[in-house]
Amino acid sequence: MSYKLYYFDARGLNEPLRMIFALGGVEYEDVRIPLGDIPPPPTIPAEIKEKCTWGQVPMLEFDGRKICQSLAMQRYFAKKFNLVGSDDWEAAQIDEYVDSSKDFLQVWVPPLTEKDPAKREELIKETKAKTVDKYLKTFDKIISANGGKRLVGKNLSWADLWLAHVLNNLELVGGVKLAEGFPALKALCDTVFATPEIKAWVEKRPKSKF
């Protein structure tokens, strides 16, 4: 089966899919659209955009089928590769933590795409303060209550991948290190990035700004 993934040349919202593909051993054609100097928002080439159901990327083509919407795509493959917990309730908790991780990532987009250095400093400070209680403490508590390394259940889930990705991405994009001072968050990240397939993927993945 041949897979063709269309996204920007970025980790962004789609990196968890590439991590899930790495875990599942999926070979795919990784079509990377140049991001440009955002903002302004990037342009999707017309010949790709017209193939995308909602005019957006990511989009995945395989087996004569097409799927869009990053979380829908990720959940489909997470299920295939047993990254969704052991029952409907665990799957739902995983969904909740993925949704919250995505909110967490999006809150950081304005500060990290701000071009004015002084304004950027200010926004980073503000966003750090805002996100400590809402996300860092909350996630740290959840992981600690679940044994200290994972968000849900006994096995690696795609929520672990998402949270580890967000924390890693903040560091790569903006030098923002939020896991310091949160031992459970740090343990989760270490566990995810030590997983052999993830480690191998991170070592070979294209370097991109975002």
Binding site: R75, A92, E96
Partner: protein, 211 residues
């Protein structure tokens, strides 16, 4: 199993859950948080937000996650993994539209920007989304968006269409005959119809501070 919906006294993000429970004739408690009580209640919630679903005392947050969980628990979901993925895709795509609506209607502080965003919403964002959804509905045939039976995605999306009709323009589905038929099919389901007839909630949030 005991189910509680914890939310404000409006349709908003919880209406889809109430519609799902009604369709299934499953009992639930509607725990209403008054706006005056929200600041005190907020710190005790997982993410400082509502709605929350409580199942036998365990809490679940995030609107689409709750709909999807109820869909799977009560078999109002796809018949294959692929159909489930399509349910997710259509709900996520229409979420983008609703988030923009919430953005300009409740959260935009600049009046001029608000007018601008609403104009773009009406002239471009709604038609772009509905046109794509119309094609999807037509291709699927039958009454529903995915497969042959009612799913949580049908209820979720029909609710959003009703909300747009209610708040933006009651004729919004004219020009999209398949979506019109789809929405009517969902809202004609006897238990759903009965619930809507007796529910006193509105879509519009009376308190802008709640967002």
């Amino acid at each position: 199993m005991t189910y509680k919906i914890i939310y404000f006294g409006i349709k908003g993000r919880a209406e889809a859950f109430r519609l799902i429970f009604s369709a299934l004739d499953v009992k639930y408690e509607d725990v209403i948080i008054k706006s005056a009580d929200w600041p005190g209640y907020k710190p005790g919630t997982p993410w400082g937000q509502l709605p929350i679903l409580e199942v036998d005392g365990q809490q679940l947050a995030q609107t689409s996650t709750i709909c999807r969980y109820l869909g799977h628990t009560f078999n109002l979901c796809g018949e294959t993994a692929w159909e489930d993925a399509k349910c997710d895709e259509y709900v996520d795509a229409t979420n983008d539209l609703i988030e923009e609506w919430i953005g300009f209607k409740f959260l935009e502080p600049d009046e001029a920007r608000k007018v601008e965003r609403k104009a773009k919403f009406v002239s471009t964002l709604i038609p772009n989304c509905l046109a794509k959804l119309e094609v999807i509905k037509e291709k699927n045939g039958g009454d529903f968006l995915v497969g042959k039976k009612l799913t949580w995605a049908d209820i979720n999306v029909a609710d959003k269409l009703a909300m747009l009709e209610g708040d933006i323009d009651s004729t919004i589905l004219e020009g999209y005959p398949n979506l019109k038929m789809f929405k009517n099919a969902v809202f004609s389901i006897p238990r759903i119809k009965a619930y809507i007839e007796k529910s006193g909630y509105t879509y519009v949030n009376m308190d802008p501070g709640l967002g």
